[in-house]
Amino acid sequence: MGDRPVRLAIAGAGHMGARHAAAIRTCESAELVAVWSRTRAHAARLAGEHGARVAESLSALVESFDIDAVIVCTPPAHHAEPALAAFRAGKHVIVEKPLARSISHGERMIEAADAAGLFLMTAHVARHLPLLRTLHDQVLSGAIGEIAMIHMSRETATALSGWRIDPAEGGGVVLDLGIHEFDWLLWTAGPVERVYCRAASRVRDAAAAYALTTLRFRSGAIAEVESSATKGEGFRISGELAGDAGLITYDSDRDVALSTDLEPLGRAEYGGLPTSFTRASPFLEQMEHWMRCLRGQERPLVKPSEALDALRVALAALESARSGQVLPP
């Protein structure tokens, strides 16, 4: 790719597709070439907003355009098909989290990436949040000693809808929100030994809107993860880590750099993140990181096996919530 911008295509023109398109626009090293969606009108709108072209089919997206990588933003149950098509066409893949909706899909994607010698990078954007990255660095530098007890919480006011609360297609808050904490925890506290989860739905037969997951780590540490789509307004991440040499806490509602008291401008869009008032948005940080990886300047922060491990924990939590059993990931 040399010095020219990395040429990208987006598969799936929903909320996350639009987020990545916006990040590409502000990332000097990236360029959006083409968009494909199962709903052509969605692809046309997103492509139109960003000066990209519409691909008429998935195969056209990966074969007919001069692209380096595909960002897969379809629902998780449909990540494998575009990812495998991209690998067959020799393109790198960036995939929204969770890696897939099933372990077998995730494993096939990883095998295909390995066989083709191409990148498979998962968008665990929480690792790029300045708050959670600083927290990770503090814990790893020994600020609290050995970790003993952890709480992590992610709450959104935006009710999950569509495939996200379809128990087969999505997985409610456990898969949509909890996956961030599971990935961060595996990254920070090491492997998980067992998982227990209780969850509640607001709508009959829908996936959970609220879940409390208990994790026991191989190290002996204990964690509780709250995943909630029942917040009254806004978005909040909060928690604490207690170790044998200290306690460290965070709360995005408490730790703010700028507060305004204006009338709300409109309803928060799905998955809205708090504005962090840092140099770049986490999505731009993440995009810049991916581009450096694709240019061979950096190693991916999230290894494919790590994305699969986070998925294993999330799926164990979902199954525990269903069966009431304690499960290994």
């Binding site: 050995e146 970790i147 003993a148 007890m149 709480h151 067992r194 227990y196 209780r198 509640a200 607001r202 809107a209 609220y210 409390l212 208990t214 026991r216 190290s219 002996g220 540490a221 204990i222 509780e224 709250e226 909630s228 029942t230 917040k231 009254g232 207690a242 170790g243 044998d244 200290g246 306690l247 009431g324 059993q325 304690v326």
Partner: protein, 325 residues
């Protein structure tokens, strides 16, 4: 730990004839406290029980049952520090002895007297938040030391010390009894044989569940002793109570550490008010012996769950009268 707070509360009253101390292990301390506060000291349990109508038992946890049973035999009402006992048969025997003697047996649960908690419970019970989908609670503290970390005197560690408060509050909020408990219990804060951390999932009859962190996870530098928080997720709305959230934040000059200075209601005094009123009115106290028994069941189920590596059932017990709330 709470003896001084209770003593201050009873000394502040003008409706008691005599206040008497019985210090089971440390006579010098009893006389020192008596000299400071102007109360008398009894020379032994027999003389003590002869002279009083009611006793507040703040001994080592394992001595709660023998002291309370002796008091019941002597016709003396008792307010017993939590946990009510360290074994279920002891707690059942205490409840039964007081019932048969028509005496008041109260458990030292001050949290039900918190105005914030009462408002939250009233709203939840009135259905103002919709159905209770889930709760998320904490009762975290600093490591207390003393008999609390000698298992043969306390009956356990952080879990038996702290799980009982919220286990009791959950019954009051939901109007349901705990049915199943899953617990992860750890030793990672102090690396001793007593448990210093616990994360429980308590499932109530009817399907509502709550997590509860009962760890001694506040380090020595923490500005206060700990917390009791309850977050309730309703189908219509959510609410969070921070029972000791009413505070000043105080930052002294070095080298002293920052302190949180509470200005909320004196819950220990309200607890003692209720105990004395219950005796005079011949009614159940708000925090009854049965309440203490139920909370103990949850704490002991947590230890059993951690040992089994699986959720365990909380065994059913006698019906509970919760009219006092």
């Amino acid at each position: 730990m709470h003896a001084r707070s209770y003593l201050n509360a009873v000394c502040a009253r003008d409706d008691l004839d005599e206040i008497l101390l019985l210090e089971e292990t440390n006579r010098d301390l009893a006389h020192q406290i008596a000299a400071q506060t102007g109360v008398s000291v009894a020379s032994g349990p027999a003389e003590f029980l002869e002279r009083v109508d009611a006793v507040i038992i703040t001994s080592d946890n394992v001595h709660h049952a023998p002291l309370a049973l002796a008091a019941a035999r002597a016709g003396v009402h008792a307010l017993v520090e939590k946990p009510l006992a360290t074994r279920i048969p002891d707690a059942v025997a205490m409840v039964e002895a007081y019932r048969q003697a028509s005496l008041v047996l109260a458990t030292s649960f001050p949290c039900p007297f918190s105005p914030a908690f009462q408002a939250l419970a009233a709203r939840a019970r009135a259905g103002e938040l919709g159905d209770v989908l889930a709760l998320r609670c904490t009762n975290r503290g600093t490591m207390p030391g003393g008999f609390f970390i000698e298992r043969e005197r306390s009956g356990g560690g952080a879990v038996i010390d702290h799980a009982v408060h919220v286990a009791d509050l959950l019954r009051r909020i939901t109007g349901r009894d705990p049915q199943r408990v899953y617990a992860e219990i750890g030793h990672g804060l102090y690396h001793q044989d007593w448990d210093d951390s616990g994360l429980l999932t308590i499932e109530m009859s009817g399907g509502t569940f709550s997590t509860l962190d009962c760890s001694w996870s506040r380090p020595g530098s923490f500005p206060t002793w700990g917390d009791v928080t309850i977050k309730l997720i309703g189908s219509e709305a959510s609410a969070t109570a921070d029972l000791f959230g009413q505070r000043l934040e105080y930052y002294p000059a070095e080298p002293a550490r920052p302190k949180w200075i509470g200005w909320g209601s004196d819950l220990d005094a309200l607890l003692i008010d209720d105990f004395l009123e219950a005796i005079r009115a011949g009614r159940q106290p708000v925090s009854s012996g049965e309440d203490g028994l139920w909370a103990l069941r949850v704490a002991l189920a947590a230890y059993a769950s951690a040992q089994a590596g699986a959720p365990v059932d909380v065994l059913p017990g006698p019906a509970v009268d919760r009219e006092g709330l």
